[in-house]
Amino acid sequence: MSTSTTLEAPNTGTWDGGNEPLKASYGKLMMWFFLLSDAFTFGAFLIVYGLSRHSNLAYTGKAEDFTFSTEWWPIPEKVFNAFPGLHGMDLPLAFVALMTMILILSSVTMVLAVEAGHRMDKNDVQKWLLWTILFGATFLGCQAWEWSHFIAGDGVGLQLADGTTIMGANLTMNQYGPPLFADLFFFITGFHGTHVFTGWIMLVMIFINTVNGVYHKRGHYEMVEKVGLYWHFVDLVWVFVFTFFYLI
């Protein structure tokens, strides 16, 4: 008698595990419910962002006259207007657009990997997983650049009335606006980045398993589907972060 939990034959009785109440496997169902709890977490973050923004003075002047101040909430496209290698140019949201495209593309290659899994096409699953891993790593690299640029600061910084200058950003002060602005940037994009990173680790794991034929021997590629759910969720969260943090 082996101690392994793998069944010799699947249970078929209504009351011994042969019944799937929601017509989805146990693993997929639990991934859905985990993602729902994760949606609460990100929802809370973004709601706090809205709350903080409404609790602070909004900039009411002309957009072209806008200057950074700790008095009012900044206009996001004035903050995120840099692009790697194009120093000193005003390119509002261009880099964020690129990051969005990369993540949507990685979502597409993930679906293609799942689709290949349904067809039991090992080579295609490998190919598309590799693309997804590549796009995921690229996105993480983009985020690293964005963070370092945000932290280091841009231009001459923010001149305060007492003659001191704030350069860049940390958790207590930043050159872009009220302290909460940078805090929420770090927390929201940081939490999202952590999800991308953990998802990327899982992608590498299932890629190795696929190459070793683990899923092919098992007879199905459901694990690719479950990691896929997680990966699409990361893309979904980015769509909301993109809107509420960068556009509005």
Partner: protein
């Protein structure tokens, strides 16, 4: 399964052709919606109307990602509702707390008036 014979995957089984048309269609829709968001971001002054447009387009994008990529559209009705209903409560939390933020700002601004 130690006695299981290693088979050559590439030659023994016939693999069906990919069905990827719907996937690429969804991708095109997502890219188009994102492009429209950018057009509004650069051609329209910031306002409540513009923010509403952004949020509506975002909901459409979320619908396609969750419905098609995550396959929720094709799951059982009970599963769809058990995901959507809790999210409706989150939406309510958002409305409530943003109103609360506005009220807080009003209070501290007009405290000594």
């Amino acid at each position: 399964m130690a006695t299981h014979h290693e088979q050559d995957f590439n030659t023994t089984t016939e693999v069906p052709k990919p069905q990827t048309k719907a996937i690429w269609r969804t991708f095109i829709i997502l890219v188009a919606l994102t492009a429209v968001e950018f057009i509004f971001a650069f051609t329209m002054e910031a306002s409540t109307v513009r923010n509403s447009i952004f949020i509506i387009l975002t909901i459409f994008k979320a619908f396609y990602i969750v419905g098609e990529f995550m396959h929720l559209k094709h799951e059982s009705k009970v599963l769809i509702w058990s995901i959507l209903l809790p999210m409706a409560l989150v939406t309510w939390l958002m409305v409530a707390l943003i109103a609360e933020g506005s009220y807080y700002f009003e209070s501290i601004t007009n405290y000594f008036k």
